[in-house]
Symmetry: C2
Subunit: 228 residues, 2 copies
C-alpha cells in the first residue's frame, strides 16, 4: 500500500466532522483530534469520536482537555445558566451557542499537535452557510489562519488547513458522506446528550432538514422528528 | 479617576511580562491571564503571577489549565524526558525549549477571554531578539494574528494585540521596568523552580546579562551569578 502523509482531522463526533474524516482518509493517514471543552454533550461526543476512529482504524488520536472554555464562559454551550434555545432557522446574527473565538483555539491545538507528529494538513469540517453567523467558520478566517501558521511555526514546517465542506449545504454534505460510505450512523450532532437526539435544537433541525432535502432517512434515532 | 478601558495582559510571571503589565497599567485597567501548561516551573510562576497581580491591585484575573501542551509534548519545557540545556547565547536556530505554536494557543485563549470581558487590547511581552528564534515571537506573527482576530470575532468586537517589548533588548526592558517602578523583584524568569534562580539556564543568562548591561543589580536571589 502506498504511504499516505499524516493529516490531523478535527473530529467533534458530529456529522460534518464524520464526513470530513471520510474525505481526509482518501488521501491522508488521519490522526484524530478531539476537544472536551465542558460542553453538555461531552461524553456523547466522545463516544461518537471513538466509534468513528475505530471505523477508520485510526492509530494516532488525541483527546484534549480544553475545559478553560467553561472558565471563560459566555456561551450557552458551556454556561449551565444559559438554556439551549429551540431551533429558529430564520434567526439572523450570532447565536447564543457561540463560544468566543472557539475555532482559533481548536486550530492552535491542532497546529501544535500537527507540528509534533509531522502532519502536513489539518482538516476541519467548518461550514460557512449552516454555521449561522459564527465568525470563525468563514473561509476568510481560515485563509488568515493559514498565514498565522506560516509565520508561527518552524521554517521547515508546512501545515495548511483544509475546509472541504466550507461551501457545501447540509444536503450536499450528507450526499458526499453517503458516497464515501462515511459512518453517519455513528455521528452525533444534537446539542443535548442522550440515547436519542432531541430533534428540536438548531443542530438537529439543520441535520434533519439536510436529510429531508437529500431524500434520505437519517440513520440515528430521534425523540421527535419534526419536518423542517 | 478617569475610566480606563480593559486590557488583557498575559502574565507568565517572568520579567518581560512584569514590565508589560507596568506598560499596560499606564493606559488600561489590566485583567491578568496566566497559563499553567505543565511547565516545570508552574508553581513558582503562579506565585510570581499572584504577587504581581496583587502589586497592581488587579481585580479580573484568570488562570487557565492548558495542560494539553504536556499531552502534545515535543518540548523540553513540558517533556520530563528532555533535560533543560545550559545556556548557549551564541546558539543559532530554534531551541529545544520551543513549545510548538505556543503563543498562538495563548493568544487564542486571551482573545476568547477578552471578548467575554469586553477588553480592547491584549498585551504580550514577546521579544523578537531575545527569543532566540521562536517563530511565534516575531512581529510578523502578531500582525498576521491581528488579522485572524478581526476575521474570527464578532463584527462589533475590536481587539488588537500589543507587543510593547517586541523590538527592545533585555537591557532596555529592564530600564523601562525600572522607570515605571515595575516590581521586578517579584518576577521569576528561571527555567528551574526554587527559592533562588539557577543562574545558568538560557533565561537566567539573558536576564543577568541585561542587568549587567543596564549597570544594575538584579533584585532576585541566584544560586550562582555567572558574568555573561
Amino acid at each position: 500500500m502506498r504511504h499516505k502523509p499524516l493529516a490531523v482531522v478535527l473530529v467533534s463526533g458530529g456529522m460534518d466532522s464524520c464526513v470530513t474524516a471520510a474525505i481526509a482518509a482518501e488521501k491522508y493517514t488521519p490522526a484524530f483530534l478531539h476537544l472536551n471543552y465542558g460542553q453538555k454533550t461531552e461524553q456523547r461526543e466522545l463516544r461518537a469520536f471513538e466509534e468513528i476512529a475505530a471505523f477508520y482504524g485510526v492509530k494516532k488520536k488525541l483527546v484534549v482537555d480544553a475545559r478553560f472554555f467553561t472558565e471563560i464562559g459566555g456561551s450557552s454551550l458551556t454556561d449551565e445558566t444559559i438554556p439551549v434555545k429551540k431551533a429558529d432557522l430564520d434567526f439572523q446574527g450570532i447565536p447564543d451557542s457561540y463560544v468566543p473565538f472557539r475555532n482559533a483555539n481548536i486550530l492552535a491545538i491542532a497546529v501544535s499537535y500537527a507540528e509534533v507528529i509531522g502532519a502536513v494538513k489539518i482538516f476541519i469540517g467548518a461550514v460557512e452557510e449552516d454555521s449561522s453567523g459564527y465568525p470563525d467558520c468563514r473561509e476568510d478566517f481560515y485563509r488568515a489562519y493559514n498565514r498565522v501558521i506560516e509565520e508561527g511555526t518552524r521554517p521547515e514546517t508546512h501545515i495548511t488547513i483544509e475546509t472541504p465542506l466550507i461551501h457545501l449545504k447540509k444536503r450536499e454534505i450528507i450526499e458526499r458522506g453517503l458516497s464515501l460510505k462515511a459512518p453517519l450512523e455513528l455521528s452525533w450532532s444534537c446539542y443535548q446528550a442522550g440515547d436519542e437526539a432531541c430533534g428540536v435544537c438548531d443542530s438537529c433541525a439543520l441535520r434533519l432538514r439536510g436529510f429531508a432535502e437529500a431524500g434520505r432517512e437519517d440513520p440515528i434515532p430521534y425523540k421527535v422528528r419534526p419536518r423542517y
